[in-house]
Subunit: 288 residues, 2 copies
């Protein structure tokens, strides 16, 4: 039985009852438009906690002007069915006016972690993300919260937020779930035309290529970046409206540029197909 919680007061009452009974609570924050990537998080939450809650909230403050807040897919009926099928105990599904009674003045800032990679294309995005996740943590008070590695920069910012602000929450990062051809699952994939969908596999291809070069001994981050860029530009020439946002190799934890890959590195790419922006990433780990 999946409980739907529409207000903060309802959510707090549910949390109070569950925690009062000594049960541990797992949370998966989502924006809905659920896919198999989300389902994998729900299963982790169920396996590791006595109760699994998810939130479905298309958070306006993390969308910039001209981004897809209005047209972001809202698929409540099928989202709820998936939550039920996966044995989710509670879905927190508030209206925007419930989460933001007034425009927020006090917010959580990700500092320099929000300024690299997706930061320049999405000013204010990671402040919106960090702020809404802080709100959800305070409302639902989970013991553990589950995020997908696909949103690598978001994950690092949330982990650092938890450390820097001492949130009593453990962050669990779950592997990216992919389509059979390697494309990372994303609620935004449905925006793609058939042609774009076919060419979108380039993201994972260049990541795997960078990984292969790394495993073959290449340690110069800019060589990996150049090769990824070269391959993406080739795809772009054949794809109307496609555009490279970035193809970067950065320090895994600070997200800052690195020269030699002598420690864990995040390889991250972002490509635009018309108005649709896709991201993907993987981690490189030098042997000790």
């Amino acid at each position: 039985m999946t409980v739907v919680l529409r207000t903060i007061a309802e959510a707090r009452a549910w949390v109070r009852a569950e925690r009062g009974a000594g049960r541990t609570l797992g949370l998966v924050p989502t924006m809905g438009a659920l896919h198999e990537g989300h389902a994998s998080l729900f299963r982790r939450a169920r396996a590791e906690c006595d109760r699994a809650a998810i939130s479905i909230f298309v958070n306006p403050t993390q969308f910039g002007a001209g981004e897809d807040y209005e047209r972001y897919p809202r698929t409540w009926e099928s989202d709820l069915r998936m939550a039920e099928r996966e044995g989710v105990d509670a879905v927190f599904y508030p209206e925007a006016g419930e989460m933001y009674t007034e425009p927020p003045l006090v917010t959580v800032h990700p500092g320099k972690l929000g300024k690299t990679l997706c930061g320049p294309s999405r000013p204010g995005h990671f402040r919106g993300v960090a702020t809404v996740v802080a709100k959800l943590f305070h409302i639902l008070q989970p013991d553990r919260a589950f995020f997908g590695q696909k949103d690598a920069q978001q994950v690092i910012i949330i982990q650092r937020m938890v450390t820097d602000l001492n949130f009593p929450v453990a962050i669990e990062v779950c592997p990216t779930v992919r389509e059979p051809d390697g494309l990372a699952m994303s609620s935004r994939n449905r925006y793609l035309s058939a042609e774009e969908r076919k060419n979108a596999t380039i993201l994972y291809q260049v990541l795997r290529c960078a990984e292969t070069m790394f495993k073959g001994g290449v340690r110069d981050s800019s060589r990996l970046e150049q090769e990824m860029e070269r391959q993406i530009q080739e795809m772009i020439r054949a794809t109307p409206g496609a555009e490279l946002d970035y193809a970067r190799v950065v320090d895994r934890w600070s997200l800052q540029p690195m020269g030699a890959i002598d420690r864990e590195a995040l390889v991250a790419v972002a490509v635009r197909f018309g108005k649709t922006r896709l991201i993907d990433n993987l981690i490189l780990t030098p042997e000790e």
Copy 2:
């Protein structure tokens, strides 16, 4: 019996035990150098909660370059005695390195609430305050937290932080405690010379004068500001090293300038005596 908690792990264990036993928890965050104003907060916490905890932490991130972080009074022995005398159950007394293992990247920003009044003289101060209070709330997880009205801008920022980020904490604001001559109690009063101490009563005097004018029917905020300024400048001419920082009448909740006082107003003053900066305030409430 007052327990002293030196580490975050110790604090969390104490909180877990108390909350596990179903007891409510009150928190008074302080920087030590405790005086009767603090004691009044401790008594409120004891009266309203099953357990009263205080924190004593001179938070480096809320001091600017050239401010008094190094020389801020540290009076641990007498602070602990006061805590014991007042029946405080636990004192969280961490080292700076325990609270900040690395320089924080993710912080809590007070937005425009941090830019008025004390903001311009103390850049970064309220970000430091909001961030450390968020940390303390996450570590000690109080049901209620108690703050003094003397630090009016801090109080508004903390209240707004709790609202905007949905902290599960009730904020209780307690009246300013004053010396017999009206000077608001402050850990920084001990910095004053005998002459400065005598003249420092001007802060409360001009506040009371503004209140009297208001009660006499004056509703123009700038008239109150001008009269306060005039009186402070007169004192300053007789006091070497004294300087006006501000004398302002602002909207009580937004801290923004107001013309006519047709809603709750905060009257706030700040005066420097050499390196020592004193603040005080009161609230004006128009009758309905």
